[in-house]
């Protein structure tokens, strides 16, 4: 009896963005992609989410900006970026063309700044979607992030919705008590998808010098150490929204990616893992294909949310 031979289909639709495979590069670690293009040629990535872009250039935080932690790292880059104009003129032209879908991570300190970046990216060729980073300090609310307040989240999402025809994800901060409430608020205000998590606030102290290790005192924890927290939040959000979820946080293996998909995520993004090995996305893709063949899966929708009761 000849077994049916088929090649599993890795394609997924993430909030209207058609991805060749469900593995993305997370915003930040990947920069604007140029360096990784030289190194790995964007191989095996379904999409890339470029580093946060603000209306005006941001200088970033004083060094040291990164530190290693057990199975993870802290970063306090401070969203250093050359601003919207420079992104459009210098970075975007080099990113256009065939290859992974391109999402732009949008940052701001006020609702107007978010809306301004969205306007500036509207109708620009080569951009497939946006990701709103609402972990940014909300200057009007005394610096607490937009993402820690469902109402503020709703306002910033609605403002961006009015300015863009692109599909956009809202990227949630994990530093909240009720992630579901923030996600629902984003969905109601018009978001096309939820991506989560951003980094968890943390710090280390350099005991030899009796001072915080990072120049900014606080930084964001990421990497395998946080994966259980990220997975829990993906699970909780998939429970309360209908829009698709992009799982992020500590993913380094195909099994990690499968855990997020079985929790209800549509796709996954790899951040810190790229530092451990820039070829991680290829390894995850290979692992997913092997799993699908072994289990006889035609596509990943068959197991999306499969671990849910």
């Amino acid at each position: 009896m000849a077994e049916k031979i088929f090649e599993p289909d890795l394609r997924v639709d993430l909030a209207g963005i058609a991805l060749e495979n469900p593995i993305l590069a997370a915003s930040g670690p990947f920069g604007y992609g140029h360096e990784y293009r030289e190194l790995t040629g964007f191989k095996d990535l379904g999409g890339i989410i470029v580093k946060g872009v603000s209306l005006e250039p941001w200088a970033g935080n004083p060094p040291p900006r990164v530190a290693e932690t057990p199975s993870g790292m802290l970063n306090a880059i401070g969203l250093q970026n050359p601003g919207l104009k420079s992104f459009l003129e210098e970075d975007l032209p080099r990113l256009r063309g065939p290859g992974p879908r391109l999402l732009v991570n949008v940052v701001g300190c006020t609702v107007e700044e978010y809306a301004g970046v969205a306007s500036g990216l509207e109708g620009v060729e080569g951009i497939d979607g946006l990701e709103l980073n609402i972990s940014c300090p909300n200057v009007k609310a005394g610096g607490m992030a937009f993402g820690t307040d469902p109402a503020a989240t709703g306002r910033v999402v609605a403002a961006v919705r009015r300015k863009t025809s692109l599909p956009f994800l809202v990227k949630l901060s994990p530093n909240v008590a009720d992630i579901g409430a923030v996600a629902r608020s984003a969905e109601e205000a018009g978001a096309d998808g939820i991506s989560l998590i951003n980094t968890i606030s943390g710090m280390l102290i350099d005991t030899a010098h009796k001072k915080p290790l990072l120049g900014n005192i606080f930084g964001g924890l990421s990497g395998p150490a946080v994966m259980p927290v990220a997975l829990r939040m993906a699970w909780q959000v998939a429970e309360v929204v209908k829009i698709p979820v992009l799982g992020i946080g500590g993913i380094t293996t195909a099994d990690d990616a499968l855990q997020f998909i079985m929790a209800g995520a549509r796709a996954v993004a790899v951040g810190t893992g790229l530092f451990y090995d820039p070829h991680l996305p290829s390894q995850i893709k290979t692992g997913l294909l092997e799993y699908m063949k072994k289990e006889g899966l035609k596509n990943l929708h068959e197991i999306e949310g499969a671990a849910r009761p």
Binding site: G33, E35, E38, L39, N75, T252, F275, D277
Partner: protein
Amino acid sequence: MSPGQSNMLPRPFSVYRADTLSGEISLLIEIKGKGTALLAETTPGVSLKLLGPLGRGFPDLPPRSLLVAGGAGIAPLAFLAASTAAPRTLLYCARSSEFLVCPDTDLDLPGLSVMEATDDGSRGVKGTAADLLSNRIEKAGAVFACGPRPMLAAVKEICSRAKIETWFSLEERMACGIGACVGCAVATTGGYRRVCRDGPVFPAEEVIFDG
């Protein structure tokens, strides 16, 4: 270089020696923490993942160059010292003798004079890099330095007063190592710049030490 452990950031090291014929490179590594300890345990024949060379190195050495190395800062300067036969002097300094890790034979190069200093006088002159440098700065063709921040700050002060061209190889904690994440930023007169891509070598006058 990745210490071969998963869930660890890569570690940056300078090229210490390179043999263009055999294609071999050598690194000189001080055991500082977890990653370097793991590397030290590595046995011959084990393969390690290595990405490089990365960033921009030192410019060519003019005659009568002074090379100032503090501790493990010797690695890139030993490499630089071997790049020419012109007369040049290496000022090699550390807290105490056990931190002067570079084998003498590796510094036995034509045209190179070596002066050593330790804070506690356990080897060479008792004193700092600044002490050695102050006495020699006037006739220097240029200064090249690598070592701890306070040492570099002192070197910058001496060299700028003497108006001598000076280059620093800087260290900062890194994540990607290739210029993407802006994790390894150092404050310069041109804003934050990346040690891994824009450096590690910067003109001394551009480097801001209290930034």
